[in-house]
């Protein structure tokens, strides 16, 4: 009988923000697979580390950071073959995922290769968007607000349309687009409502009004939250410039 495949959401970074379900699976699963950059540690592996009993087989999925075109098919093809071998041998495999597996996660590239062939369970996790709002001390959205999650690499025109069509926004995948995004948000008169968040829930967490960020770039694990809503108290909270 084949093993079971888990897509395991591990939350935004604080090991205490994993679910009881993910914790139980980490305690018992014989094989884990996790994404890693070509240099430096795996963030997903680090979140799981305090919960691992030790002795499990580990499959690093090393993704060159400079890959221009995602998905890097060969990397996922190769990882799928490795994972399949364990599943075929009856061993369960947990793929470690930062945040939530299905919220802009790379797990989908393994899922599309394996889910139709093996018993698969996706365990949802706390997404960094929810953690960012908690850390910033302001709601993501309320009542009949439309909340949009908008990737930073979109063009200025697309971004403008998407920002105008929403009441609340989380802008993700900022990186080298940071300066362009800040200029656009300023042009749209939304700078006073914009909060910059970085590495939320970790010791290295940073939060500040977007207007006050000194850098011109942002790391991968950063996000801009914008709340246009008319709640005066939200804009009176610490961190708001309004």
């Amino acid at each position: 009988m084949s093993g079971k495949l888990y897509g395991l959401g591990l939350g935004p970074g604080d090991p205490d923000l994993i679910t009881l379900k993910a914790h139980k699976i980490l305690q018992g699963v014989p094989v884990i697979a996790w994404p890693a950059p070509d240099t430096g540690p795996s963030f997903a592996r680090a979140i799981a580390a305090p919960h691992l009993p030790g002795g499990q087989v580990e499959i690093p999925i090393v993704m060159p950071m400079r890959t221009e075109r995602f998905p890097a098919r060969e990397v996922y093809d190769k990882a799928s073959v490795e994972i399949s071998a364990h599943l075929d041998a009856g061993r369960d495999v947990a793929v470690l995922c930062e945040g939530d597996p299905f919220f802009y996660g790379s797990f989908m590239y393994l899922y599309e290769r394996l889910a139709l062939g093996y018993d698969t369970e996706v365990v949802p996790g706390v997404s960094s968007m929810m953690a960012a709002a908690s850390a910033a001390g302001r709601p993501l959205a309320a009542r009949n607000d439309v909340l949009s999650v908008v990737p930073g690499p979109l063009s200025d025109e697309e971004l403008t349309n998407r920002i105008n069509a929403a009441d609340a926004l989380a802008i993700i995948k900022i990186g080298r687009h940071f300066n362009r995004l800040r200029a656009l948000i300023e042009k749209l008169n939304l700078l006073p409502q914009a909060i910059y968040t970085e590495r939320v829930s970790l010791g290295s967490e940073r939060l500040m009004p977007l207007a006050e960020v000194p850098e011109n770039t942002a790391p991968y694990f950063s996000m801009i939250l914008i709340y246009k809503g008319g709640e005066d108290w939200i804009h009176a909270l610490p961190g708001s410039k309004a």
Copy 2:
């Protein structure tokens, strides 16, 4: 010294989908407050139940379901006074929240009344949107998709604009708008990509293509997910009609 106020995200319903952090707080906090309808049990209280050691003080926040205009100020004013009395006496208070406290949650109405006066921590939780995508077996969004969360009570015109402006959607607050929403989604040729989810992660969970839902209304804890993206494999998954 005053007690600490927690806004405690408890996840979508399965008690195993609460975080280790929420679990620890539930084990130790002397006072809990939780929302409840005027008849029937509190969903948030039910999620927390297996994790409570017993003996804690409980503050039900009973919200008449027929209230036309939210927030029902008097209810939150009264609850804030009760909670303040415990905080002033040095007792920590955890407000139990379904899903994530700041994702369309009613916790914000207590937060606006209490957060500036007391040490407050919001503990993020797994939102029902993430759990619905996991249960449906399809990503919420990927790559440079724009994901929008759209409340069902909006007008047809607003809904059409918001749906057209996004690549992936979660339609929430469906209830008595179900028939109108289904007709609109069909008119926009998105019915084959629409999945209906209800009470995800609970024993009473239901998932099916939107086109196959027999009822004309939907309960409060339901959601419609639409993924417009061009990934063929997504639309080949069980549950898709394409």
